[in-house]
Subunit: 143 residues, 2 copies
């Protein structure tokens, strides 16, 4: 369930970032925030339709693009899989479990980020750093 104050704060966060807060964008953003996973655009579309059945897939793509551009969400992509979207704005990496397909966030301490940046030759500056692991987990994740 979503309270009015949450809706308000979502709209607020959009305007704060210079994103015109349309109902569609609010719902898309709300949907992404309300579940800590990494949905594809199609999955977002399905979830959003529950609240706003008339929204179109093109709009979902447009909204996701606006959110990504404004820095409110991030994109994750794996070879030959649809792009996924991620509401976690902390510096983090992704672990892609090959057996379950699950994607888990891995915290990235600042010292590691610094160390990574040091790898770049003179004159290179990175606006984003993407780190992703692929592998398997010994035990099933408990959550």
């Amino acid at each position: 369930m979503i309270s009015d104050t949450q809706i308000a704060s979502v709209a607020q966060r959009l305007s704060d970032r210079g994103v015109r807060p349309t109902p569609q964008r609010e719902v898309v953003y709300q949907v992404i925030l309300s579940k800590r996973d990494h949905p594809t655009a199609e999955e977002v579309f399905d979830r959003v339709k529950a609240q706003m059945p008339t929204i179109s897939l093109a709009t979902v793509y447009n909204c996701l693009d606006a959110l990504v551009q404004s820095g409110l969400i991030k994109q994750v992509n794996y070879v030959r899989e649809p792009t996924r979207y991620c509401p976690n704005l902390h510096e983090h990496a992704h672990f892609h479990d090959e057996s379950t397909g699950e994607i888990r966030d891995i915290d990235l301490p600042p010292d590691v980020m610094d160390r990574l940046r040091q790898l770049l030759p003179e004159g290179f500056s990175a606006t984003s750093i993407d780190l992703s692991f692929r592998g398997s987990t010994a035990q099933p994740s408990q959550r």
Copy 2:
């Protein structure tokens, strides 16, 4: 220009990895080795056609898959761009220059790899680690 010994060694490397050395695979592999960049499948297709005009795009994809699976080349992918292929087997990251579109390899020292692996929680084991930077270079790359 490609000498016979180079061809031979390409075929040899294929069989060493358990990849049946067909003419198509040899040419695809040779083409990828002969230029230190990160071509897409279509680009590989174009280059290969110069030597073997009858090859089909499907075969190029098949060959690239075989090479990736056997560990002879790597895949690189960026959000909403076609998959790219990379002959550099050393541990390395990629730097994606946003203004030129160029992709540069960045060496990854073993200690950094170790540090990255340490980030994984208990029970997680990574079969591959992908690190990629996105940004711009102050000076144009000299090479």
